[in-house]
Amino acid sequence: MPEFISQTLNGLSLAGIMFLVSSGFTLVFGVMRVTNLSHGAVYLLGGYVAYSVIAYKGNFFYGLLAGTVAMAAFGLLLEGTLIRRMRGRPMAELLATLGLVYIIDDACLVLWGGNPLSLRLPGALEGSSNIPVGQITYPNGRLFILGVAVVVGIALFFLLRRTRVGAVVRAGVDDRNMVSALGINVRRVFTAVFVLGAALAGLGGVLGGTIFSLYPGGDSDILTYALVVVVVGGLGSYEGAILGSLIVGLIDNYGQAYFPSLAYFALFAPLVAILLVRPQGLLGRAAT
Amino acid sequence: MSMGAHETPARQDGQAALRMTKLGRRFGGIDAVKDVSLAVPKGSRFGVIGPNGAGKTTMFNLLSGELRPTSGRVELFGRNITRLAPNRRVALGLGRTYQITRVFRDLTVLENITLAVHGLRKSKLSMLRPWRSYSTAVEEAANVASTFGLGERLNITAEELSHGEVRELEVLLTLAQKPEVLLLDEPAAGLSPAERVGIRALLRSLPRELTLVMIEHDMDVLRDVVEHVAVLHFGELVMQGTVAEVQEDATVQELYLGKPKVAES
């Protein structure tokens, strides 16, 4: 039983990272109809930036901030240059971001080399805590990830459900013409959402770097996770990203813990099942 | 025109080509189409009119199978097709066109119509020879085009056609499948009087044996083509009769009062 609880917590913290990455991906897709295949590369870049800042400053939280802010800035640049040029050509946007993956990956290889790098957690987060339920000790770092994911998740939920900006974003998901009709600056909303998505990917990269380490190719691994999550949850649906992350994170982790030989199938089993039964994803809307 | 392209259900003489019985469709709490019963005799030509939102296109969607009715039934030559998939209805000889034209914009006129010709044949899956070497299909497509007015435009992509020609192509796609019952959804909508010339000529030249149901606001076009008119209002069939009867009917005039859209252009 303690083993099961700690595996569940592992699954949840994995889900937390998946959520940070996939919620950005799905919001960008939902609002802008942009499929950003470089989202995984942004995750990796965020982690690497944090690595350098931590090495220089010696403080993990500076790294966390730097990775997130740097990726927000990168998102701003990307949206203002490449994405804006190609608006309304979804397949071309997808392919351009695919080309971008090779550029970012190669740049990371030049700057940070090919060896896996790990982000070290600061003092208090490095240890473990006793958890009252089931009397287990559990690493603080993973609890921290889980905590950040929950806080971000709730904050985004309130942003989307309770504020005017959020209403606009959701309207963008539901009815793009209406947003323009409301006289809202769609362009600014697009930029903001893209920057938010990139920042979330960067944050995910910093946190992910503490458990997965950062390495060339790590971006395609996380991108695959994120894509499975959004397809399971429903492309473009924020709540779908939450639900999908929980499903995929838990299944993947239980799979690796209890059926190691089938783990890889376990990750894709929900994907196949969903596609056969509900191609638009659990909380997605049917294509029109 | 030969009529052999599709499976022909057993039929008796004098039977309705298309029969709706208490046909209805609800969206949420609203009846888009309500209790419509209408028999369209074989070879007859019906116009369907009614103000915007009267349920005309919804009725067509129920007939062509793109929507399932919430009540009632649809029969094609006496066969119950209420739950049949759209492509099966096409195979049974029911063709329709769309108000918002849906042609293959980046393909040529000939490619467009050839696709339609192959649509009801097994050859649509054939992979071994160029489609241009299927001379019967290609000639049939070219014939359809030249008979109904686009014969000179075969090698032009649909996006280069004029508005009016795109409308004609939309109808040709359906005609190429040699339907016995044809549903036309506002074939002249959005066209200027000059642009209407081609499509009106096309409608006049439709083979006499074709059973036709046409949604149209333009009374000139209607008089050109149909004998009977059915009037829909808020999803219900409020009257039917000859063109003249309907035009003189007080209720209809009231429905359309202040609606310049019906005014002859």
């Binding site: 997808l94 | 393909l107 649509g119």
Partner: protein, 371 residues
């Protein structure tokens, strides 16, 4: 039966003059000629042995895979990001049976069956969606195949991969001889190109264009479009598998890297860079990217960055890829000529110039493959 005007239009009367006119009239002949010259040139390089042999082999193999992807993406509008997975599957389909003692011919048979069966199964899932979702699903399928190769160590040899040691032999066709192997690869390339050429111009190919253009309308014309997409997916995957079988014999080694995300992307880049919706495009793309990868990497260490940058520029500025750009160039030249030509003013522009180009519009329409 046929009315005179229809017959005239079908016969493609063309009165364009000058070089472009000649090119137009003999377009078919010309493209055959260009093809033959290229094949002969490739043949000479292949015969020379050494570095150029393996370079040309790689180009041909990736060109085959990219053509298969183009059939699905350019003609059917279903861009796949999982084609390298089928190259890997074809190659492992040779390597695994050979490691278990099967002969090379049996292994080829097994490889083809495995590829076809995997395509048939994954296709059921993949054709549930179209557009962007299809790209994502094929990417996931590619990652599954990669993950299998990477983690199913007992079968695949894991990270180290497997060596291919048995080569098929049929009379004088002895594939252990690198020269013979090189020409067999060239022959397979030509056959695949001809098969795909037939396929894209067939009624089935036309239906793929229809799906890409307006799938919903095609359905209302009586097509079961899901079936068409399913068959196209299987065909494209088998073409990828054939490339993989050649890859196995050409490289003698298959490891998971060949089918990782990066390689999946590269094959898509090849098809798109060269230009979708023309079978020449992917060949051009495979040529350019393989050259960047193998030749330029000798001089420039950052070839990946270069490749990515070239690709982004192409996608942003020329939606039809490089081949499309060339076609637009000749079309613009032709239009200018037509306008300048005497007596052309009276002729409606469209009727005159389009009649000449119309013939091949099924494969060469001006509409882009990437929107």
């Amino acid at each position: 039966m046929k009315s005179p005007s229809a017959a005239a239009a079908l016969n493609q009367v063309d009165d364009a003059s000058g070089v472009i006119g000649v090119v137009d009239r003999h377009r078919r002949l010309l493209s055959i000629l260009v093809g033959v010259v290229l094949v002969v040139f490739a043949g000479v390089l292949l015969g020379s042995g050494g570095f150029y042999t393996s370079l040309v082999e790689d180009i041909l193999i990736y060109a085959i895979a990219a053509m298969g992807l183009d059939f699905l993406g350019g003609y059917g509008g279903l861009v796949s990001l999982g084609q390298a997975g089928f190259i890997g599957l074809g190659a492992y389909g040779i390597a695994v049976p050979e490691a278990h003692g099967f002969g090379p011919w049996t292994s080829i048979g097994i490889a083809l069956v495995v590829v076809a069966a995997t395509a048939a199964v994954t296709g059921i899932v993949a054709i549930r969606v179209t557009g962007i979702s299809f790209v994502i699903i094929t990417l996931a399928i590619g990652q599954i195949l990669w993950g299998l190769a990477y983690r199913w160590v007992s079968l695949s040899g894991g990270d180290n991969g497997l060596v291919i040691s048995g080569f098929p032999k049929l009379g004088p066709l002895d594939l252990t001889n690198p020269q013979v192997l090189a020409f067999v690869i060239l022959a397979v390339f030509v056959v695949v190109a001809l098969v795909l050429r037939t396929l894209v111009s067939s009624p089935f190919g036309l239906s793929m264009l229809g799906i890409r253009s307006n799938e919903q309308r095609l359905r209302t014309l009586g097509y079961r479009t899901g079936l068409h997409r399913y068959l196209a997916y299987i065909i494209a995957s088998i073409v990828g598998g054939v490339a993989g079988i050649l890859y196995a014999f050409s490289n003698n080694l298959i490891s998971p890297t060949t089918m990782d995300f990066s390689h999946n992307g590269i094959i898509t880049l090849m098809a798109v860079l060269g230009g979708l919706r023309s079978l020449w495009g992917p060949v051009l793309g495979a040529l350019i990217i393989t050259l960047i990868q193998q030749e330029l990497s000798i001089y420039v260490s950052r070839w990946q960055m270069l490749m990515g940058a070239v690709f982004v520029v192409v996608v942003v500025f020329t939606p039809d890829g490089l081949w499309g750009l060339m076609r637009q160039g000749t079309a613009a030249l032709r239009r200018r000529r037509a306008r300048a030509g005497p007596g052309d003013a009276a002729r409606p522009d469209a009727a005159g110039t389009e009649a000449g180009t119309g013939q091949s519009s099924a494969t060469e329409s001006s509409e882009s493959g990437v929107r």
